[in-house]
Structures are given as C-alpha cells and as structure tokens.
C-alpha cells in the first residue's frame, strides 16, 4: 500500500536580503495511514519548514523542488483551491502555542462551528452537534458549556485540546503536530500525548509529531526522523533509533540530555553550535562538530543509505557509537 504521505527529495530555498538561502535539502519521508511518526531536531533544523511546505504555507518567493504526495495527490504546485481541499479535510495542523492558534475574542463554539459550516457546509445545529462530539473526543469536561467559553477561560493544556478539536473538525487523515506539548507542563503533556495515541487507535488518524524532545519522541512515536541543518541524517523505528543510534549526531543529542545517572552535573554538550539556516557547511553538515569526522566528510553530503532493518543513515564513517545509559 502506498503511504498516506510520501515526500521525496524535497528541497526548499527561501529568499533573503542576502540572496536565496537553501534551507531544506533532499528530505524524503513517509507517513502511513494510522502511523505515529516523529520528526526531531534542534531549532533551525528545518522541521517546522517541512510542515509549512506540506500545508502550502511557505512565504512568497520560496523555491521548492522534489515531490510531496498526499493520498496520491501531488501537493507541490497546487493552486489555492487545491490547497483548500487538502488543508483541514486532508492534512490538519496543531501548533506549539495554542493561545496564538485560537482567536481570543471568539467563543470556542464559534471557532469550532464556523470552520465546519464553511468547509463541510453543515447547518448550525449539525455543526454544534459535531462540535460537542469533538470536544468530548478530546476529553474536555462539560462540552456544552465549553462551547460558550472563550480561550482565556481554559488552562494551557485545555486550550491545546481545543486547538486539536478544531484541527480534527473536518476529519483529516493526517495531523501535523508542531511541538504541541513544548509549552506545557509534564503532567499536562502526558495527557496530550495519550490523547494523540487514542485518536490514532480509534480513528486511524496518522500523526507527524515534530519535537525537540527525544523522550517524547520515544514515548509516542513508532518511527522517527532526525533532522540536522535541513537534512534527514538518520531514520528508523524510534526505539532502535534512540537505543542504538548509528549517526554521530543522534548519539550526541542523546548524550547531551540528562540521563538520570546523577553524574554530578556534567552533561556532554555537543561542541560548537548548529549552523544558521541556509549556512550549512559543505559536505556532511555535522562534520565540523563531529568527533568521528574524516577528511572526506567535508567534500560531499553523504546520502541516506540503508543501515539494517528499516533504517537509514547519512554517514560515511559509521563509527562504533557508545550509547548513554
């Protein structure tokens, strides 16, 4: 079966005052129906830009090459009407900051139903019925009352649930969640992660979950992509990816996080800093910071090559990597 989303050799170049900046290079990824896929990396690595590309939200002047097919339809080059058909009913999105995603002056009910009345041509009563159903689905207590409430009357976690309900209104098959729990407390985050997993199990929703937190990646997703400087450097089943990384960057990211061994406060930082977007060095983008780099690493970016069961890695050295406990 063809994947629900099939991105192949996607490259995006953004305009800037100093000339075009190549941000994404040769990104290929797939999401199957009902699959929870994780996309992880540090800020500026291109994770959010990938999401924007898939929703046709790139700024004017962006140059895109490659292919991105959703349910067989090529997304790149769609006209505004084509995008309108895909967004909402096909691919929906949830953002990091639910307060920014919701209109502060409109009731939750208005924001939920307006959307359905326009996109699904429902009448008011049907839309309200569906809105109650949706709020119930995302576990908002007392949905009828919640419809009349305004975003500020909810806590951060509840607001994110409302944003998810709105995203689900037109029954999308793919939800792109861009750091949806980053602004939330751990106990609240646990609830949102469980909600996404339940939606996947109950409705067959596919979720592309963007995060910088490898713990969240491991807890929620079954397959993951590690991004660095606009490239996929490693991909595979999440458990294997994070317990036995094959790319030095994945291993370094794992090493930099607290590992609960109480080392007396010496984390292992990755030397240097990631390159600014569009300013990746030639060759492997990680080679200036990599402890295993060889002279050849600076010549050409290594292609993503198969590395064991369902796994690929973009590294020519393939050193033996010690994994943090």
């Amino acid at each position: 079966m063809a994947p629900l989303l099939d991105v192949d050799s996607l490259a995006v170049t953004l305009p800037s005052p100093r000339g075009p900046l190549p941000i994404l290079h040769d990104v290929s990824l797939t999401v199957d129906e009902g699959e929870l896929v994780g996309i992880a990396g540090e800020s500026g690595c291109g994770k959010s830009l990938t999401a924007q590309t898939l929703l046709g939200l790139l700024p004017p002047g962006a140059a895109v090459t490659g292919s991105a097919r959703y349910a067989g339809t090529e997304l790149l080059g769609l006209d505004p009407r084509g995008w309108q058909r895909v967004r909402g009913a096909g691919i929906a999105m949830v953002f990091q900051d639910p307060s920014a995603a919701l209109h502060p002056m409109l009731s939750v009910g208005r924001q939920l139903t307006e959307h359905m009345r326009v996109h699904l041509r429902m009448d008011r009563r049907a839309a309200v019925r569906r809105a109650v159903e949706l709020l119930d689905q995302v576990r908002i207590p007392d949905p009828e009352r919640a419809l009349r409430a305004y975003p500020h009357q909810f806590s951060g976690g509840m607001r994110q649930r409302v944003a998810i309900a709105i995203a689900l209104a037109a029954r999308p098959r793919l939800l792109i969640a861009d750091e949806p729990t980053t602004a939330l407390d751990v106990t609240v985050q646990a609830g949102i992660l469980a909600l996404l997993e339940r939606l996947r199990a109950e409705t067959g929703l596919a979720v592309a979950f963007i995060t910088h937190d490898l713990g969240v990646l491991s807890a929620l997703t079954t397959r993951g992509y590690i991004f660095y400087a606009g490239r996929v450097v490693e991909t595979g089943p999440t458990g294997a990816l994070l317990t036995a990384p094959t790319h030095p960057y994945t291993a370094a990211l794992l090493g930099a996080r607290p590992h609960g061994t109480q080392t007396g406060g010496t984390l292992r930082p990755i030397p240097g800093a990631p390159p600014a977007p569009g300013e990746a060095p030639p060759g492997c983008p990680f080679h200036p910071r990599c402890g295993y780099a060889e002279p050849s690493c600076g010549t050409a970016p290594p292609p993503l090559t198969p590395a064991g069961a369902d796994r690929s890695v973009a590294c020519v050295v393939r050193p033996h990597l010690e994994v943090a406990a």
Partner: protein
C-alpha cells in the same frame, strides 16, 4: 543556629500574596521553608503556577514576602532601590529564563558587564575583569564589543550569566535558565552553572520544570505544588523513593527513552486556581491515595534529612498505601 555559618540563603514560612482589584487575593506561595548552603545546588521543581518564580523574586529582593522571612548571610533580604542595596545583597544574583530580555539590546556586552564590576576595581583592571568574565563563560574577548543580537540564544544566556557573575556573587538564583535553549546549548549552560558552583563554592537555587535535568545536577530537590513544598530530599533518595504522591506523579510523567513506545502515566485533573485552592492538603482532589485525614493540612514531617508533607507518611494511619507508592 550557628552565627558564624557561611553565607546561606534561608526561607522561613515565606508567603507571597498578590491582590488585584475586584478579585480574591491569591496566595502564590503559602508557607515555604527552605535553605541553600554554599557549594550546594538546590533544585526547585513544580509545574507552572506553583509559585516557583514568586519564590525566586522574593529570594533576591525583587518583591517582598507578605509573611515569613528570607535571610541571606543572616541578614533579612528586603526589597530596596538598587542604590541602597547592601554589599551582602549584591552577592545574591539572579539568572532569568529569557536571555533576550535580560540584556539591553542597545548596549555592548562589555559596557553591560562593566556595570556589574565592583567599584573597588579601577582603571585597566576593570577591562581585564570583563575579559575574565567572558573567559569564564567560554566566550571570546571580542564579544565585549558586540551587541546582544549578534549572539545565539545559548551564547546570550552565557553572557547573561557573565553579567550575573560580575559583582562576584556568592549565591545564584537561576529561574528556568535553560528552558528557552536547544539541547546542545542547554548542556553547555548547565555545565557552566554547575562548574561555577563547584569551583567558586557558590550556592545555587536552580528552578526548573525539567525534572530530569534537576535530577542530574541538584544535591537536594524540593518539589512544589500550589504554593507549598510537598517534599524535599537529597535528589538521589527523592528519585529512588518518592514519599509524596505528587512527586511520584511528576516523575512518572517524564517521557523516557526506551526500546518501545511507552506513554507516560497521567495524573488526573488539573492544577486548581491558586485563588481558590482546596482546603486541607492542596493535592487532595488529584491524589490517588486521598483518604479521610487529607481534609486537614498535613504537617511537614522531618524524616531525617528529608521532609514530606503528606498524611500517608504517618505510618499508623496508612501503612500499606505508603509502601506501595
């Protein structure tokens, strides 16, 4: 108490209240006692709205407690204009969450660091001190001539730390110092702060919502819920054997890296509005072990090196539940 004891920061029954017109008074901090000794890192964890930041502001004298006392080096910390700030209080410095807001965007780094260098240091020694400060936070001397916007988030936080170090503090209050940073710069900044405490024998109150991080670096961890410290213990013991149900719930909510996806445990309910805090034990409405005595506020019981405010620790009342926590 030993009066010759080295400069220690102590909170005794501190309360912080906020009032706004037409609304009920909010007790953000409802009776907190805590100590930070030189050379010690005390981690303070809790979710947003639990009063961590209110406590931090009181600790450095940015606001006054409505009850209780904060003492540093055996003198009360009182909010005063900066001109009247005593030498002892200058030894208390704070590092804030947002390095963008804690540096002046229109002044060079060097001139901002000079502000903090003690007046006794004169002439060329002042410039030399600026370079020492930059070296301590692993930044090049050339940074002195540059402006905050020319640095990345992690670098800016290191510069904000250099600014906090300029007046030669003995105690650092760090309020979510790495929350806004990426994994690789997070590790750098954390190592820097821990190194300072160890090298200079400073004390540090490290406030964070990131339990894994606090677990990694803190000597003692205090867990705060809705304005009260529910449990405080040497970090290792707290993690090995949490005695308060809220501590247990927080630890269980942290997503873990493992070979298979495993969702973190969910704590029922939400943090109540502090203006309308539950009577008795404030965690009671969400606690899976709540029983009759919880209607009364539990006393903080000293268990030899650790303290906990929970009726379950009263072994006569509920011995079996306590053990199964």
């Amino acid at each position: 108490m030993n009066t010759t004891a080295p400069a220690r920061l102590s909170f005794t029954d501190v309360e912080v209240e906020y009032r706004s017109r037409g609304r009920a008074r909010v007790r953000a901090v409802a009776g907190v006692s805590l100590e930070v000794s030189p050379g010690q890192i005390v981690g303070l964890v809790g979710e947003s709205g639990c009063g961590k930041s209110s406590l931090a502001r009181v600790a450095v004298g940015l606001s006054a407690p409505s009850a209780g006392t904060v003492r540093y080096a055996d003198r009360p910390v009182t909010p005063l204009g900066w001109r009247r700030r005593s030498g002892a209080e200058v030894a208390l410095q704070m590092v804030f969450q947002n390095p963008y807001a804690s540096l002046n965007p229109r002044r060079t780094i060097g001139s901002q660091l000079l502000d903090g260098v003690p007046a006794e240091v004169t002439g060329a020694a002042r410039r030399a001190r600026v370079h020492e400060l930059l070296e301590r936070v692993a930044m090049p001397a050339s940074a002195a001539q540059r402006y905050p916007h020319q640095f990345s988030g992690g670098q800016r936080q290191r510069l904000a730390i250099a600014r906090a170090l300029a007046p030669e503090p003995r105690m650092i209050i760090a309020d979510e110092p790495v929350t806004a940073l990426d994994a690789s710069s997070q590790a750098q900044v954390v190592n820097l702060l821990v190194g300072l405490v160890r090298d200079l024998d400073m004390g540090m109150l490290f406030i964070s919502h990131d339990l894994a991080l606090v677990h990694e670096i803190a000597d003692v961890t205090a867990v705060m819920y809705l304005g009260r410290i529910v449990e405080a213990a040497p970090t290792r013991e707290l993690w090995r054997e949490p005695r308060h149900p809220y501590t247990r719930a927080l630890i269980d909510a942290v997503p873990q890296i493992g070979p298979t996806a495993r969702l973190p445990a969910i704590l029922a309910g939400e943090v109540p509005d502090p203006a309308n805090a539950p009577t008795g034990c404030r965690f009671r409405p969400r606690c899976p072990h709540a029983f009759a005595p919880c209607g009364e506020q539990p006393p903080t019981v000293d268990l030899g090196g650790r303290s906990v405010a929970c009726w379950l620790t009263d072994s006569a009342a509920a011995p079996t539940v306590a053990r199964s926590l």
